[in-house]
Symmetry: C2
Subunit: 221 residues, 2 copies
């Protein structure tokens, strides 16, 4: 089966670029999207240089709108505060596609306190904004970006995947596997309030325990 082409919107950020690198290393074609096409191209070149030379490096950069339009699956990895503005740029390109939201709503300065946006969760707000033709799933909220770019580093965290479309959830579970993690179907998109909220809980656990990358594992499955 041909692998879908991925657009990582916000792919110049720490988490987006780490995921992009892992997906490219697994053989996916990845488009890095950024507000600035130049920054996206530079980030793509840098990621390309980090891949083992024997791999075909299919990473390139584009504007957010261009990357979304050219991709089969769109990964949204942007700060919550920028979400609406960026969704406006990519709305057309998301229609008929799976959109994987990696966004975590946090309310500075109290980022270890669970905060829920008006629409229930960032992912539900994205779904509302993009409309029913886009299939939004939430995933990858709970991983630490710290070691993502070390390709042989095992991320000790499961990926809770929520969404209302089961094919879209399967896509996200496959993307978790491709990045070296275990994706778990965690129910409907409305359950994303919990997976998003868990990130604030983990940030607090990091602070209290003086660690950088606490995560979660689902046991008993």
């Amino acid at each position: 089966m041909t692998k879908p082409t991925l657009a990582v919107i916000g792919g110049t950020g720490e988490e987006g670029s780490g995921l992009a690198l892992r997906w490219a290393a697994d053989g996916y074609s990845v488009l890095i999207g950024s507000r600035s096409r130049e920054r996206a191209v530079a980030a793509a070149a840098e990621l390309k240089s980090m891949l083992p030379p024997e791999l075909p490096a299919r990473i390139s950069g584009d504007s957010n709108a261009g990357a979304a339009a050219a991709a089969d699956v769109i990964v949204l990895s942007v700060p919550y505060s920028s979400q609406t503005g960026i969704l406006e740029q990519i709305r057309a390109g998301c229609q008929g596609k799976t959109v994987v939201s990696v966004v975590v709503p946090l309310k500075p300065p109290r980022v270890s306190r669970v905060w829920r946006p008006q629409g229930g969760s960032a992912a539900e707000e994205a779904q509302g904004f993009l409309g029913g033709e886009a299939r939004v799933v939430a995933a990858f909220q709970n991983i630490s970006a710290t070691h993502l770019k070390e390709l042989d580093h095992t991320v000790d965290c499961d990926i809770l995947v929520t969404g209302d479309d089961s094919t879209a959830k399967e896509t996200a579970i496959e993307l978790a596997r491709a990045a070296g993690m275990r994706g778990i179907d965690a129910g409907p998109l409305s359950n994303s309030s919990v997976s998003e909220g868990l990130t604030a809980v983990l940030i607090g656990i990091n602070i209290r325990n003086k660690v950088k990358g606490s995560g979660i594992r689902i046991t008993g499955v």
Copy 2:
């Protein structure tokens, strides 16, 4: 240090009685509370018979109000739908004490869909009802009751403890240890919306994976 006397309100239920048994086995004095004093006494006698004969069996039964009034720490293990009525019975007995809420708000029949009560969480509603003189913490939401009464069964699940009083959180973390689990400070009581909501996610994971007792572990600490 003398161990506090515990009241387990709803201690005739599966989870409450399982926790009560584990705490009694660790040397705590436990009062089983129930609406019916007779049922509480019978449940206490049954739990007593399950303890190794060499242990001093300090489990007895009482009405909810009587158990709460006589205890140092109150554990609330009741269905969410009964919470307000039972809090009315025990309000006087909770003043000045730590109250550990094990309650999970679920909205049947869709119990695998995260549902958040109006007050944010069951524990926050309990805090609001009991007033500032009671120190409410939320804990033990995510464990399966299935194997609790097998004292040598390792519960493969961490206990997220949320609350606004650090001494009360320490008490709950010690109760987790006494029951053979690891308690983790998960932040303020408002974060209990996530630990309570996780239970609905785990119920869905149980259903989809045909298992009974999925749980969560915090990694990286």
